[in-house]
Symmetry: C2
Subunit: 586 residues, 2 copies
């Protein structure tokens, strides 16, 4: 009767969770804490007895909870929103990433924990909880305030940082440590992978889902979405990243489908069920005795989160150009940790590199800081007033001067337009270069694994490599051409801006022409070097390579317009996907 | 990496199911068939290879699918609707239950199958598929027609028959066969259990859920509902019935909550996900070779379903008072089997009493008949015309005379009101009697298990039994009083109706008074006998019993008004639950 046992476990988990969450609702406390308490009550560490037969199954289901939780966060995330709030949030997140992981690491060392525990502690206290903040702002009726809007941008940025951090932590865990170069390599590989997956995903997935949605059957759409989500997570896990990263990315991709609103509504109950199980499973791992034993570290970490977050976010928000009052409110609102800390702890446990006590510590800190969040947000306005009054006049003047100076730095309208154009061209060059590199890496991978079956054509390795290389070059050609064209445009623009007639005089035009050509050629050269290094497995012998390059150069000359057209079609498809608004009908 | 493997299995199931269902949508075939095909493709019997690592987990999840499927059916079921359509549908279902199980059994015997296989085959072909019929009528735009309305009533009635049949089959499977007396005992026990569970459930569950719902958090409501659902299923499974029965009953109970509409919307996606897994799991069990091997039985059973259903439902509908045309349309619409057949087959496999080949046979028959359903419904109107024209005038006249005779039987208005009153009083007496019996059985059960801890009070068995019996009597007292009062009212009514003044003359009043007292006394006596037999474990020694009876009689005399009030409160609570309409806001 394995089935009955499974249903019994599920019934116990859900019934107890129902009771505790209703209780927490009555006490006006976050529901998440209710779920965790349910887990503690059910768990093996608390009397009267063990209520769950098969913890492993609950934990397996809780993995679905993580995936669906991050998938939902991805669905709410939007590339467009990111672009709007990006600048200021980036500054704050940089300050956070400098301060909080270091703080956590030092606390871990202070208590004599293992290095890896300290590293993970640092990561765990870096990311605030979107759910808790949203809930608190909603209940206090502050969602429309300016500081709240800034916080949303910050939370989106933090999501990305969390995802990058998880990739880094996975790398650190597998190598035991990380050098600066390794970290750069990990981030580079991650950026490459994310860019390729996003471009390919945006081309395919929203179209596919909109096609499925047009039949109007909810169950078929839901089943397809979940299949795509889990499938993508597996793919990402196969590349050595966490399933959580995959879930977040596929969520962000699915968010660009026209039927994303309907998908959100369909996925919500399924997510609610499994994320409840996830939070209960967290509670299952908590032994109250461990909490007593680690009371001191818990207190220290809680203080670190409160002070560190207020200082880092507050200071960061001020540096980014907010007035002191708004900055303080942002800082006090962000002072807690939540679901991402659990996901990171789960990652560490799954990789087998952190000690078991870290989980209860993280949960306890989250419980304490979550509990304080509404009070902190409510206290932030009076606190700002008190602080402003208590501040010496000199300091106040200095702060005001800084804000004024920042405002003076702002570009005039024409300058802003030009800066935007340059940024766009740089993005296009970068993304196309990444796609080219990805094509060569992918073909080299397939060649090494023997999936191309080139040995059936000819036994000579040199010829095989030449064929594989040609295939990659052919596939990459539209992107190479696009990168060249955008770099060309960038060169023209920069030459125009950089070499003013009044300084260069008669030599203006030759100089401009030289600079304008230098940039696309340098881009091509850099691309060739990258491809040569990263695709070295399929690099043909030198003479063959030269001959091939010549052939491709001539072919490009003749096919120029066709290649441009192919690239334009792909680009238009992505642009359309990103710009089509969600349909509202359900 | 057990988690990853699990996610991989899930991804495969959902992705393949997504593809096949989209294909079936394009071909305008039922989605359910797409799910089953996905299972066949993934399954171990078809090339290229086994795509699922761990069939057991998928099967465990598919059990959740059964539960949620039947829970949804229960949610759509309503006691009110049943009362409206009850009469005619009951006649049709009786004809079906006489014909189809016998037909299935004979076919099984014809092919030399084991007795239990033949019995289960009979059960499997008895119940039509609600899902398929709803879908077909919806697509043909016939939902508002008179014959469609009749079919809905019939389908509700069939759901109940299926539930009873499953309880019977469980009984048959555990004893190896069933005598008429045993069957009556099984049905009696089932009726008792259902009545008690419904009354207790209606008193508690809707109130509880409305309380949880008023917090306005979807996730808490969903978690609570699922917990209650799974918990109730376990309870029912603990009593020896199937979880499917439990799921249907708790669905019907939850349906009476004011927030039932919201619950329906929340549960729908979860149900869709797991029922997709359920249907895929059905496909997993199908070996195409078995289908070839059993082609002949499959054809025979398909014919039996088509002919048997058309004849049984058509004839039944005609006997129940429909005109010939409507009757034929009802018969042709009901001619298929679906989800309940799979649930019954799952039950048989779970009990280990049927052969493995029965599953693919049932699925194949369901696929064939499902495929034909829309064509049969469309063809039913022309078929009725053809039949009417081809029929000899004499037969036609006979049919018309029957319908006219039925109409003449209808009671006049006053008669109908009296009949309704009698029916209501009978129901009240029966339900209160069942509750009394249930209280005694429950107390006897607790006493035998030692949960009452009466041995702590006194070691003498006689005294312990007297105490337990008193407890049961005390709890049952409001219901005993109610049963007596309703029986009394029934006696007065029947006496008034049965003994007319013009026949009995002067003796009318004494006779009436005698009859009026006879009925409540007989009821009490019958109740006492039932309680004595079924609660024999706590029957005290005779002298003690007589003393107790005297005490209780005196107490009842003094407490009469209080007891009536307690019962009235309980009755009013249930009535309110049943009559409060669902709130529409989400």
């Amino acid at each position: 009767m394995h089935e009955l046992q499974f249903i019994q476990d599920l019934a116990v988990v859900l019934l107890v969770a129902g009771c505790t969450t209703v209780l927490f609702q009555r006490l006006r406390q976050p529901v998440v804490l209710g779920y965790i308490l349910a887990g503690v009550l059910i768990g093996p560490h608390t009397p009267p007895f063990k209520l769950i037969q098969d913890e492993q199954t609950i934990r397996t289901l809780s993995e679905l909870g993580v995936i669906l939780l991050l998938f939902s966060l991805g669905l709410e995330f939007s590339l467009k929103k990111l672009r709007q709030v990006g600048g200021k949030a980036l500054v704050v997140v940089c300050v956070e990433v400098l301060l909080l992981p270091w703080l956590g690491f030092e606390i871990g060392r202070l208590f004599g924990w293992r290095t890896m525990d300290a590293v993970f502690l640092g990561a765990m206290i870096t990311i605030s909880s979107t759910t808790i903040i949203m809930k608190a702002l909603d209940e206090l009726g502050l969602k429309q305030e300016r500081f709240a809007q800034q916080m949303f941008g910050l939370l989106i940025m933090e999501d990305i940082v969390a995802v990058v951090m998880m990739a880094l932590l996975t790398g650190i865990a597998s190598t035991g440590g990380v050098a600066a170069g390794d970290a750069a390599a990990i981030i580079g590989r991650l950026a490459l992978f994310m860019a390729v997956a996003l471009v390919a995903g945006l081309l395919l997935i929203p179209r596919l889902l909109d096609y499925v949605a047009h039949f109007g059957r909810h169950d078929v759409l839901l089943v397809t979405v979940l299949g795509v989500c889990f499938g993508f997570c597996l793919l990402v896990a196969g590349m050595g990243y966490s399933v959580a990263l995959g879930a977040f990315m596929i969520g962000a991709i699915v968010a660009e489908a026209r039927c994303a609103g309907r998908i959100e509504q369909l996925v919500e109950p399924v997510r609610d069920m499994f994320s409840a199980i996830f939070f209960v499973a967290i509670g299952l791992m908590i032994d109250p005795q461990v909490l007593v034993q680690y009371a001191l570290p818990i207190l220290a970490v809680t203080l670190a989160v409160l002070l560190g977050k207020v200082v880092a976010c507050g200071f960061g928000a001020f540096v980014a150009g907010n007035d002191g009052r708004t900055a303080l409110r942002i800082g006090m609102g962000m002072a807690q940790i939540g679901e991402f800390s659990f996901v990171i702890a789960t990652l560490g446990l799954g990789l087998g590199v952190i000690s078991r006590f870290l989980y209860p510590v993280a949960v306890a800190v989250s419980v304490l800081t979550t509990f304080l969040t509404p009070y902190l947000i409510r206290a932030s306005a009076p606190a700002a007033d008190v602080l402003a009054r208590a501040m010496p006049a000199g300091a106040r003047g200095m702060f005001a001067a800084y804000t004024a100076w920042l405002d003076s730095l702002r570009l005039n309208e024409e300058g802003a337009a030009v800066a935007k154009m340059i940024r766009r061209l740089l993005w296009h060059v970068a993304i196309n270069a990444m796609l080219v590199v990805a094509v060569f890496i992918a073909v080299a991978f397939l060649y090494r694994r023997g999936y191309l079956h080139l040995d059936a054509l000819d036994a000579r390795a040199g010829l095989q490599r030449a064929l594989a290389w040609s295939l990659a070059a052919l596939l990459a050609l539209p992107m190479i051409v696009a990168a060249y064209r955008k770099a060309d445009a960038l060169g023209l623009l920069l030459a125009e801006l950089g070499i003013r007639e009044r300084f260069a005089g008669a030599r203006t035009y030759p100089l401009r022409r030289a600079l304008a050509k230098l940039i696309p050629l340098a881009t091509l050269l850099a691309l060739a070097l990258l491809v040569g290094v990263l695709g070295s497995a399929i690099l043909p012998p030198r003479q063959v390579l030269l001959a091939l390059l010549l052939v491709f150069a001539v072919a490009t000359w003749f096919l120029w317009r066709g290649l441009v057209a192919v690239h334009a079609r792909l680009q238009a498809a992505i642009k359309e996907t990103l710009e089509t608004p969600r349909s509202e009908e359900f």
